[in-house]
């Protein structure tokens, strides 16, 4: 994907909604388009990867592997973000990510993005504010998952 097309794709992505054009341009300069086939492991738990993704199409499952089983804890789809931990300098992946549909995404080198944040704090603030929103939303969703709202009324945790 050319820089111009990448910039356009980024402008239309919900994660970057409201971001100044020069900041979007900064993102585009360290971006590349990537594609994954269905059932492809994008990264494994523990993998060292500095890549951060914005999903354009398709669906990705976040999984935890345990002896004899794989637990699917969350799915991400069009308009979502994947691998935010690389933006805060943690490169060891905490989940396994697997495409459960063919996926098109824009990938960013997290190290370069962090460097850009340090060089331009206004850009850094804009980016980190968005990352924080994603993290907060996922935390709330996880808490709700843990509540198990579908348990029969009156049932208690063991």
């Amino acid at each position: 994907m050319e820089l111009k097309t990448l910039t356009e794709a980024l402008r239309g992505h919900p994660f970057l909604e409201g971001m100044k054009p020069n900041h979007v341009q900064k993102m585009a300069e360290v971006a590349m388009e990537v594609q994954f086939n269905r059932d492809q492991v994008i990264f494994r738990e523990g993998d060292e990867s500095s890549l951060f993704y914005l999903l354009l199409t398709g669906k990705v499952a976040l999984e935890v592997t345990a002896p004899g089983r794989i637990v699917r804890v969350q799915t991400l789809g069009e308009g979502d973000e994947l691998g935010w931990s690389s933006l805060i300098g943690r490169h060891g992946k905490t989940f396994q990510a697997r495409s459960i549909e063919p996926v098109r995404a824009i990938a960013f080198d997290g190290t370069r993005l962090r460097h850009a944040c340090e060089m331009d704090p206004a850009f850094g603030y804009q980016l980190m504010q968005r990352v924080l929103r994603v993290v907060a939303e996922r935390l709330q969703a996880t808490r709700l998952q843990l509540i198990d709202v579908f348990a029969p009324a009156g049932s208690k945790l063991a």
């Binding site: 794989i70 799915t75 789809g77 069009e78 308009g79 709330q140 709202v149 579908f150 009324a153």
Partner: protein, 283 residues
């Protein structure tokens, strides 16, 4: 609503009639759909969102939402989760057997008022059952509505109700159906996460969207927060409240919620009415 009140107390007025069980179909590992024919066919007329009191002779009476098509005449359909003595007895009835039935009772979803709008349906677990009649009515009058969006969450894939229908509805034009589960295995290709996470994949038009919500109360509170974030006014948000309904006619007071009796003034309420009461502790 699911079986929220299970009692062996004798049924209350108004007059109870007999209904013959036509079929009991297993929907999931613990949920069944019961079709009955009331002895008086006019007793099968209902509006989407209403409920009946079903009485299993000698076991107990319980409130169950009607989950069938309001256009079907002479029959009533209920989807029941077996969680206790009375619901278990109900789902174990056999075709030809008789049960007692009172109703239909209560308020209904504002399906007619939503004409000309998008309709957003958000359901959790067995909460899809009371919403299904609204979906049937919208689909029968499809040109009267703009988009139909159904967001449905359940605990796991094996708990999802009406899977075939959801899939059929999702293929209809201007209709978006998204299902998610809290816990999914590797064979599950749908979404994993709570129902509020599905809001990322829909575009809402505040002022032109009517939202109908039914599910566990915690879920409904978080769904309302998402709708508020997206600018939907309180008056366009409607929810089905579950309380301990016993008499269904506002006499006994078991289902009182603030100034309302859920059985008589509900179960469907506008959020305008429910806002002061939904977050109240101990109510």
């Amino acid at each position: 609503m699911s079986a929220i009140a299970e009692t062996a107390a004798p049924p209350m007025p108004p007059r109870m009639i007999t209904a013959r069980v036509v079929s009991v179909v297993k929907e999931t590992h613990d949920t069944f759909t019961l079709t009955v024919e009331p002895e008086s066919p006019e007793c099968a007329n209902f509006s989407p969102g209403q409920f009946s009191m079903l009485y299993v002779y000698g076991v107990g009476e319980l409130p169950i939402s009607i989950s069938g098509d309001p256009h079907d005449t002479g029959r009533l359909v209920y989807t029941v989760r077996s969680v206790g003595k009375a619901t278990n007895a109900l789902v174990n009835t056999k075709p030809g057997q008789s049960i007692g039935i009172r109703g239909p009772f209560g308020t209904s979803w504002p399906v007619d008022e939503a004409r000309g709008n998008d309709v957003l349906i958000v359901a959790g677990g067995i909460g899809l059952a009371p919403l299904r009649p609204a979906i049937y009515r919208i689909l029968r009058n499809r040109d009267d509505y703009v988009r139909l969006i159904v967001l449905y969450g359940a605990r796991s894939p094996k708990d999802l109700l009406y899977r075939k229908q959801l899939s059929e509805w999702g293929r209809l034009p201007d209709t978006q159906v998204l299902s998610t589960v809290d816990y999914g295995g590797v064979n599950w290709r749908g979404y994993v996460g709570v129902v509020t996470t599905l809001f990322r994949y829909v575009r809402l038009h505040p002022g032109r969207t009517t939202a109908l919500i039914c599910g566990p109360e915690i879920m409904m509170r978080y769904v309302i927060r998402e709708l508020e974030k997206r600018g939907l006014p309180d008056s366009d948000i409607h929810l089905s409240m579950e309380r301990n309904m016993k008499c269904a006619v506002g006499f006994c007071g078991h289902c009182q919620l603030g100034p309302y009796f859920v059985c008589k003034d509900g179960p469907i309420f506008s959020y305008t009415k429910m806002r002061p009461w939904l977050d109240k502790h101990e109510l």
